[in-house]
Symmetry: C2
Subunit: 342 residues, 2 copies
Amino acid sequence: MKKEITIYDIAADVGLSPTTVSRALSNHPRVKDVTRNKILHAAKTLGYQSNIFASSLRKRKSNSIGVIVPKLNSAFQSAVLAGMEKTATQAGYNLIISQSMESLDKEISNTSIMFNSRVDGLLVSKAGTTDNIEHFRPFFQKNIPVLFFDRVPENNHCTGVVINNTQAIYDATAHLIKQGCKRIVHVLGNLQINVYADRLKGYKYALMDHGFVFDPANIITNELDEDSGERIVEKITQMKPMPDGLLISNDTSAASCLMALKKKGISVPEDIAIVGFNNDLISRMVEPNLSTVHYPSYHMGEVAMKNLINHLDDEHQEILQKTNTITLRSGLIIRESSLRKP
Amino acid sequence: MKKEITIYDIAADVGLSPTTVSRALSNHPRVKDVTRNKILHAAKTLGYQSNIFASSLRKRKSNSIGVIVPKLNSAFQSAVLAGMEKTATQAGYNLIISQSMESLDKEISNTSIMFNSRVDGLLVSKAGTTDNIEHFRPFFQKNIPVLFFDRVPENNHCTGVVINNTQAIYDATAHLIKQGCKRIVHVLGNLQINVYADRLKGYKYALMDHGFVFDPANIITNELDEDSGERIVEKITQMKPMPDGLLISNDTSAASCLMALKKKGISVPEDIAIVGFNNDLISRMVEPNLSTVHYPSYHMGEVAMKNLINHLDDEHQEILQKTNTITLRSGLIIRESSLRKP
DNA sequence: AAATACCTTGAAATCGGTTGCATACTTCTA
DNA sequence: TAGAAGTATGCAACCGATTTCAAGGTATTT
C-alpha cells in the first residue's frame, strides 16, 4: 500500500506547520495569500487528498444526508430523489439512500444504520406499517434534524413537506360530481398512512358538501400496483348499482383499472369516469388520457432537502425544528378519462 | 453538547482496557464470553454509539459504495438502484448516490466527490457525452474497484455488467422482418453510448442476414423522452415510401410515438409495427400493448453490486479486476404492437 | 513438577485533520 | 520611539477506534 500524502507531508515540503497547511486548505482567512498559494501548489504537486474521516472525526460532521424511502423503484420516489440529489450536491452534501420496502422493521434498521453513519440530517417518507416514530428518538435526542416528506407521521413534532391531500381529492371528487357521477368509488392504500387518510377525508367532505351520503361500501383499500386493476374492477362490477365514478390514488393503478375496464367492455368516461393521482408519465400515455392530480414530486425533493440543509446551517435549529408543515401546491388536471361531453 | 460515550468510558465502567472493549464490540473471537457480555451490557446501558469516523480513519475503509447514474428520474435507473440498495444493505454497505445529468463535467465532479468521500467501490453508468475515463484514474491508481453497468466505456479494463444489445435488437429486427416489414426505421439515442452503438450493429446485421440493404436514412437519433413521439413521427411521415416498422430504443419514446401515430390516423401494427425497449410498465399499459425487449434492470443492480462487493472482500482483486464483461439475459417480448395477423 | 501451548488481556502507537491558546512579526498611532 | 493593535504562524492536545507486540494466566503434556 502506497503511503497517503497528508498535511504533514505538505508541511514538510513547504517548511510550514501542519496547522497552517490545514488552514490554507480549508480557506481560513488568516493565512497570507502567498503562503496559501504555495501550499495549494505543493498539495497539487504531491497529489494530496484530504482525508474526510479524520476531518469528520474532528469536526463531528459527516457532510452527508440520509434518505429513507418506502421504495426506490417508483416514478414518484425517483423524481423526489432527483430533486434531492440536485439540491444536496449543490450544497456540498452527499446523499445516502436506503429503502424500507414498506416494512417497519426495515425502516427501524435503516434508521439505525443512518444514525450510526452519523448523517447530518435525515429525510424520511414513512413505510406503510410505521405507526410510531420511536426509532427516530436517537436523532431527536442528539438534535439531528429529521424531516418527513409525503408520508408524514401523525403526531409529529418534526417539519413535514406535503401536499394538501384532502383538498386534492376534494377537488377531484367535486369534479366527478360536476360531471354527473352519482356513485363514486374511492380506491386507496393503507389508511394508516396520512396520505390516504387525508384523501379519504377530502372525499367525504366533498360528498357531504354536495349533498351526497358517504357509504363505506364505496371505499376500496388495495395495493395500488400494476396488477391491481383486475381486482378492483372485479369488485366494482359486483356492486349494484355499478359505480359511475372512480377515484384512484395513483396513476399506475388507475391505468391498470382502465385496461381491466376496457377488457370488460365498460367504457371510460361514459360508463365510468376515472381520476388518478400523481400525474405520472403513464397518465398521459394511456387511452383515454387520465385525469389526475399533479404532484410536484421533483420540487418536493428540492424543498425538503433545502429545508433540511437550512436547519443544519442555522444555529437556531430548535426554533425551525418546531415549525410546522410545508405544503406544496398540487392541482387537478382534467383529461378525457373524466370528461363527459354535455 | 453532551459528551459522547466512547470505548474508554465503557472500559472505565467495566474495569477493562479499551483494547478489550474494542475487541468485544467487533466480535473478535479472543475475548471471553463473560467479558464480552459484561461489555455489551455496559455499552447498552451507557448508550454507546460507535464512531465510524474513528473506525474508518483507522481501518481506511468507509463501508460505502458510490453510484453514479445519468439520471435518477427514470424507470430503468430506479429499478437498478433498487436492486443495488437491497444487495448493498444486505452486505452491510451504504449507498452514496449521485446523478451526472448526462453531462461529462458533472460526472467528473461526481467522481471526484466520490473519491474524496473514499467510497470503497464505485458503480457507474456513463453520461451520454462521456468519451473517456480519465477521471476515474484516481480510483484505478488506488486500486479501488470501479464497475460499469448498462452504459460501459469502450476500451474498458474494468468489469462491466451489460445485456447483449446487439443480439436484442437483432432479434427485434428479425421479428419485424418476419412480420412482413420491408422498411424498418431504427430510433436510438446518442451513438457515443455503447448501448446504442451496439443496437445499431444488431439492426444492421439482422438486415444483412435477411437480404436487406442498410440505408442510413432509416436511422433516427433523437432524445428518447416523453415528447419525442411527435418529432419522430413527423420525420417518418415525410419519408417516401413511409416505413412499415419502427424499432425504438426505449418504451417511453415508443409509447410517445404510438400516441403521435394514432393522432395522425396511422394504425399500429397494421400500417406500422412497433417494438420498444426496456419492458417498462408503460409498455403494458398503452394500446396496443408494446412489443419490447425485456431488460433485467433490478437484477442488473443486484449483480453489479454483488460483483463489486466480491471485489472488495477478495484479496485477489486485481485478478477479478481484469475480468471481463458480465452479460445478463434479455429477451424479446412480443405483444400486439408488432403482431400482424396472417 | 516443569515445560509447552493456548487463551485472555493490556500498553501504546497509530490513522490525519482541526482548533484553542500562545507567540512572533508587522503596521499603525501618539 | 514606545506602545497598541492587528496579522501570520506554530505547539500540542484533541476527535475515538484499531492493532501490533508483549505479557500474564490457565490448561495440557510428559
